[in-house]
Symmetry: C2
Subunit: 135 residues, 2 copies
Amino acid sequence: MNSEKIRALLAGVDLRATTQRVALLKELLEQAHPLSVEKLTQGMGNALDTATVYRTLDTFEEKGLVRKVELAQGRALYEHAGEHHHHIVCTECGVIQDVDVCLPKSVQGTVQRASGFANVNEHALEFFGVCKKCA
Amino acid sequence: MNSEKIRALLAGVDLRATTQRVALLKELLEQAHPLSVEKLTQGMGNALDTATVYRTLDTFEEKGLVRKVELAQGRALYEHAGEHHHHIVCTECGVIQDVDVCLPKSVQGTVQRASGFANVNEHALEFFGVCKKCA
DNA sequence: TTCTATGCAAATAGTTTGCACTAAA
DNA sequence: TTTAGTGCAAACTATTTGCATAGAA
């Protein structure tokens, strides 16, 4: 992914293409799985301040560029917001992998009726197991 | 739920029935939904030290009495470990409700084959929407 | 040139730990 | 009486915020 495409992505959501934003978005696109702020920062050679990373991720999330994933205990993970999908996490080594399985479409409707909620907009689904290496 | 039953529950998992453990387990059983450490402490009249609550919850979790739920951003929630079930969260007011919907049984097997993991042991599934009050 | 974004440092929130003391068995 | 559990205070980790400066448009 070259810088021009990334700058175009930023322009598409009305964000200034700063060096830091380009670097962060590039990192998110290249590492196509959920990453902690620490890993993201390391991946960019510790060039960005932690506060900048947090603020930029917030901005990206508002613009729909990234998604926050609640998988780890006590630290947020972020991934580029591509297609809706879910993950499987190895409970031994922590490796995270995408899975293409999703809920049957009817389920959100069922949940809405059963719960009495006015509407059901989203769901989070994560699997936990042991990967081949750790087995 | 009277204290005797709670003491029996604790004895059943080989735990000393301290005043604090009885109070905490009682609170978890009465409030049948995921609670933060702060809410739990408040619910018990701020009688227990925060460190004690955390340590006791860890102990309970090891013994299978409680389950940690990853729903909130940046704070852990705990609930009494009854039957396996899922939740729906109101994105406006934060209220959490149980839902009885679950994944079709076949899904974990499908995920195992698709992911290449040695085994798939658990899953987390949470729904997000807007409750009637907030609609 | 203008105004937003960044870096730095300090502040905050949630959680964990060390240690002396209390209480369950 | 013995050993595990608790409270208190301090330590830690992840995240947020204030403010002066740098840089994109």
